[in-house]
């Protein structure tokens, strides 16, 4: 019953940031270096690390939004480097991304109903009437209602927007979702709502999440396994509780220690005045 | 008043001088400039009479020959003497097609012979009463063989025998002249110099005169003639030197039929055009375009084509266009007089049942399409080419290389009459011939003559000694007057 849905082997990604006069490469950023990992279907794997450690880049390589410089990626039965034409379309249907910023990931000039139906339109699924019906039911599923379909993104709160992004990702009934900092921008209460919703949907559809975050509290609460990245490398990996309680790497320990605890008795920066 | 020496005349011209080649016509300002820099063998004086220039005298042994006797001791501005050889060289240069000389067709098959150092003979193959008047035009300027053959650029430099010398020149912008102290007429010119400024924009030119940054301008726009005349500070001299006409492509239907052309001649309201397009500074031509002061002027023809819409309709019906006619007309778009005239003609023709479509074009296209015969009709302003009725031959004669030739009109009867007229030198004998010529022209109407337009020079009151001539010499008037003009 345990089968890997994602297998990443030796993936690196370089960005050229400066070119010479004739267009030759002058400067390179090694955003991801030789990363390998496997993810089992139906689980949540968190990718953790400081800003700039290559988390998003890895996510984009896995979802074929960026091409890896080297290494192989197999996801949901596809070789990601060989996607084209119909296989690309099939891949796009099964793999979805929820983006970090709930505002910028929705087109401010399009009604959210249309945004949710986009995937179905692109893949020409269902009749227009069915699409509409499905869109409404998705909206309801994420706790909104049919009236909201005709509104623009700015007319929603951050949490609502994030839920719309989720509805959009679910419209194509994917089996794998990369959630790139999907809840980082939300405040506590809304963050909680969104995480609950994601958990519910995972339970229903046996979804797999690659959950990118640097919020360790959320990760501890939400993930089955945790990967720690630093400087583009995968430096530690393991089940969530093990990582938090017995980290092997000193770096991981430092990350965990840096999290401010919601407990006035454990102050580090400032004594009570 | 006694003329005073000195001073520089600032003269604004509408046309832009782009070349100083004295043999290739380059617009009215060019003509004045060339006349100031160079001299022909003979020239015109302020009354239109032919007078000595480089030649002190001449003889016409027969109707096809002139023998010139050069003045003694005259020199080009670079100091070299003017010889009979220079005269031959200059006239031969006129005849060389590679020069593109304006007068080449007028002088076709002429031969130039040097008789001695100061005597030259010009002879045409057949009788030509116009020979002397042609050689008196500024375009027949004499240049120095040595100088030209030294490889100078005639378009940019000048070395003549005229009253003035070139001091500075920027093509199409300005030319500054200074007095030629060695000018062969004693005491002339009176001015120390002339500053030519080429100002295409009518308003800019007029405003410059008004604000006194210029002393004199040419082509005072018709709309401003009255306004400026009323201003005591300025004097406006006008003379009819050019006439407006409608040309037809006689090689194709419907204009191969003279009745159609005549119908149009009847339909046009010449007074309205004179009034509206020329602000009253035009004069209807109901007869033929011979200036009134010419001895060949024939008052009997006046009124041949008075506006008569009924007659126009009748002629059209006769020609088989009883149900009306569609035609198009090329109109040069750059000048208000053309577009205004065109619109009035359009309205006039409508009344006669002709639906005229106007095609506004720029000059180069107009030239190209006319030369290709790719047009039905067009409006054109013609300046009188010669102070001689043989001008008709250049307008519509079969051999003419005047650029109206491609209109495709040919008439044997007219050709014969024109040849006859050219062979005679006696005015009285020529008169009846040219009356017949004009009659024939009006009968066949290759062109519809519209009106004389007044050409006006405007100048401030301190400018003295200017004489405006009419007819063919209208354009040359400033050039003729320059040596004896002076500033108060």
């Amino acid at each position: 019953m345990i089968e890997p849905i994602l297998e990443v082997k030796g993936v690196s990604k370089d960005f050229v940031t400066r070119r010479s006069l004739l267009g030759g490469v002058r400067d390179v950023v090694h955003a991801v270096r030789d990363v390998s990992l496997t993810v089992q279907a139906g689980t949540t794997v968190a990718v953790v690390g400081e800003s700039g450690s290559g988390k998003s880049t890895l996510g984009r390589c896995i979802t074929a939004l960026d091409a890896a410089t080297s290494g192989t990626i197999h996801l949901a039965g596809h070789d990601v480097s060989r996607l084209s034409g119909s296989s690309l379309m099939a891949f796009r249907r099964t793999v979805q991304t929820i983006f970090q910023d709930p505002y910028s990931s929705l087109n401010p000039r399009r009604r959210v109903g249309d945004a949710i139906m986009d995937g179905m339109n692109i893949h020409r699924l269902y009749t227009p009437a069915e699409r509409h019906e499905r869109m409404i039911s998705l909206l309801e599923r994420v706790g909104l209602n049919a009236d909201h379909a005709r509104r623009y993104p700015h007319q929603f709160s951050g949490g609502q927007r994030q839920r719309i992004s989720i509805a959009r990702a679910l419209a194509l009934t994917p089996s794998f979702i990369v959630a790139d900092e999907a809840v980082s921008a939300l405040d506590v209460s809304i963050k909680a709502q969104v995480l609950d919703l994601m958990a519910d949907i995972q339970a229903e559809h046996r979804l797999t999440y690659l959950f990118i975050s640097h919020d360790l509290g959320v990760v501890r609460h939400f993930a089955d396994r945790v990967l720690i990245m630093s400087g583009g490398r995968l430096i530690e990996e393991g089940p969530t509780d093990q990582i938090f309680e017995h980290p092997r790497e000193e770096y991981t320990q430092r990350l965990i220690d840096a999290v401010p605890r919601p407990n006035p008795d454990r102050r580090r920066f400032r004594a009570r005045g | 008043e006694e003329p005073k020496h000195g001073g520089t005349l600032r003269y604004g011209t509408v046309s832009e001088v782009v070349s100083l080649d004295p043999h290739v016509y380059g617009g009215s300002a060019w003509k004045v400039l060339i006349e100031a820099l160079y001299s022909p063998l003979v020239g015109y004086d302020k009354t239109g009479k032919i007078v000595p220039r480089l030649a002190e005298s001449w003889e016409q042994p027969d109707a096809r020959t002139v023998v010139f006797r050069l003045r003694e001791g005259i020199a080009f501005q670079d100091g070299s003497p003017v010889t009979a050889d220079d005269v031959k060289f200059s006239l031969d240069r006129l005849l060389d097609p590679a020069t593109g000389a304006t007068l080449r067709s007028n002088l076709q098959d002429a031969t130039v012979t040097v008789i001695d150092d100061r005597t030259v003979q010009v002879q045409k193959a057949s009788s030509d009463a116009t020979l002397l008047s042609v050689l008196a035009l500024p375009e027949a300027a004499i240049v120095s063989r040595k100088w030209v053959e030294s490889g100078v650029n005639l378009k940019l430099q000048a070395n003549g025998t005229g009253p003035f010398m070139l001091k500075a020149y920027e093509p199409s912008v300005r030319a500054s002249l200074e007095r030629n102290p060695k000018y062969f007429i004693k005491d002339q010119p009176y001015l120390d110099g002339v500053d030519f400024r080429m100002i295409k924009s009518d308003d800019a030119r007029v405003n410059a005169l008004r604000s006194q940054s210029l002393d004199m301008i040419d082509f005072v726009p018709w709309k401003d003639i009255d306004v400026l005349s009323r201003n005591a500070a300025f004097k406006i001299d006008t003379a009819g030197g050019a006439f407006m006409s409608l040309w037809f492509n006689a090689t194709s239907k419907p204009f191969d039929d003279p009745r159609v052309r005549r119908a149009i001649a009847y339909a046009v309201d010449r007074d309205a055009i004179s009034k509206a397009a020329f602000f009253g500074h035009g004069k209807a031509i109901t007869g033929a375009p011979t200036p009134e002061d010419s001895p060949y002027f024939n008052a009997d023809l006046e009124g041949t084509y008075k506006r008569d819409v009924a007659k126009a309709r009748a002629l059209l019906a006769e020609a088989g266009h009883a149900n009306g006619l569609d035609m198009s007309m090329l109109v040069f778009q750059g000048l208000g007089i053309y577009t205004a005239t065109a619109q009035i003609v359009q309205a006039n023709l409508k009344e006669a049942g002709i639906n005229l479509k106007l095609e506004p074009v720029e000059w180069a296209t107009l030239v190209e399409r006319k030369n290709r015969g790719d047009y039905q009709s067009m409006i054109y302003g013609v300046s009188v080419k010669l102070p001689d009725p043989d001008a008709y031959a250049y307008y519509i004669g079969a051999d003419s290389s005047y650029w109206a030739k491609p209109i495709g009109y040919q008439d044997k009867e007219l050709e014969a009459l024109l040849a006859q007229g050219r062979e005679q030198t006696d005015v009285e004998a020529r008169k009846p011939i040219y009356h017949k010529v004009e009659q024939r022209i009006l009968e066949t109407s290759p062109w519809v003559f519209v009106n004389w337009r007044e050409q006006a020079q405007g100048y401030s009151r301190k400018v003295q000694g200017y004489q405006q001539l009419g007819g063919a010499l209208s354009e040359s008037s400033p050039g003729i007057s320059l040596p004896t003009m002076w500033l108060k």
Binding site: - | S19, A98, R104, K200, V367, E368
Partner: protein, 318 residues
């Protein structure tokens, strides 16, 4: 930075070469024969004369040969000779370009000097009468054709008050003071016409930057509102204004025909137009090439100016 400039110039050179080729073909395809026009009424339709003069000028050769000839000439710094005037095109351009640049620079200076304050007022007083009035004044400049504007200025300053000459170009070497006076009206016309665009751009851009956090921070530091706007918002808001001024300057090089005619200012535009009317191919080619080349330099300097205002753009521009 250096590499950026070199690369930019290299790509520009390629586009310049392409433009030159296209222009060459286009103008030679134009109907109309320069020789027929040059020779005028009487000789211009004499086929023999036309043919001989064409041969003399090398116009009878195949277009490819002519092009090769022209390019070869360019490579050795020879832009050819004007068919009409017989003058070297480079001489003619060397005379005209400075005059055009002078007019444009003076005009743009006026446009900026008037447009920027108008835009600033319109932005700062947004939603109030003063702001609306500033916006309307700005539009006044470009809401009537330039010739109408120019004539109005002549009526007022030249014929009415008699302060300035109505037209005419007086070389600086002849009389510096008169030269500046002759420049005044045409430059003012260019300036007023363009002022509106500058003002609207300025206003839009400033409204945008005024609400930026760094302006708020400047105020939080204790700066007054106007000082914060002047020192922090304005420089950054100038970026798009610089761009539009630059682009416009480029298009004005050959686009001030009407003004040059009205004020008798012998600049590049009138040369280009009269050469075009006369089909003086070498002059047309040369002027257009000069316009393109200058524009390329202008757009490069826009980028450099923008980079100096906003250092972030330094790396982004390709």
């Amino acid at each position: 930075m250096f590499a950026f400039i070199v690369r930019r110039l290299a790509t520009s050179l390629i586009s310049l070469a392409m433009a030159a080729g296209v222009v060459f073909i286009a103008i030679h395809m134009l109907p109309g024969d320069p020789v027929a026009i040059m020779l005028g009424e009487q000789a211009g339709s004499d086929p023999e004369a036309v043919a001989r003069v064409r041969a003399q000028l090398g116009l009878d050769q195949p277009l490819g040969t002519q092009f090769a000839h022209w390019v070869a000439g360019l490579a050795s710094g020879d832009m050819g000779t004007s068919l009409r005037t017989g003058e070297a095109v480079s001489t003619e351009l060397a005379r005209r370009i400075p005059r055009s640049l002078e007019l444009i620079v003076a005009g743009l200076f006026i446009a900026v000097a008037l447009g920027v304050p108008l835009g600033v007022v319109a932005a700062r007083e947004r939603g109030r009468v003063a702001g609306g009035a500033a916006a309307v004044i700005a539009v006044l400049g470009f809401s009537s054709p330039v010739f109408v504007l120019g004539i109005i200025l002549i009526l007022i300053f030249s014929l009415g008050l008699g302060w300035l000459p109505s037209s005419g170009y007086i070389p600086f070497s002849d009389d510096p003071a008169l030269h500046l006076m002759s420049l005044a009206l045409p430059a003012l016309t260019v300036g007023l016409n363009f002022m509106g665009v500058v003002a609207r751009m300025m206003r839009a851009s400033l409204v945008d930057t005024m609400s930026k956090d760094y302006v708020k921070l400047a105020r939080a530091k204790g700066m007054s509102r106007s000082a914060a706007i002047r020192r922090h918002a304005l420089p950054n808001a100038m970026v798009p204004v610089v761009a539009i001024v630059g682009i416009r300057a480029g298009s004005m090089l050959g686009g001030t025909v009407i003004i040059e005619a009205l004020f008798d200012w012998p600049g590049l535009s009138s040369l280009l137009v009269s050469a075009s009317f006369a089909r003086d191919y070498p002059v047309i080619q040369g002027s257009l090439l000069a316009v393109f080349a200058i524009f390329i330099l202008i757009s490069l300097s826009i980028d450099l100016i923008q980079a100096s205002i906003d250092p972030r753009t330094r790396r982004q521009t390709s």
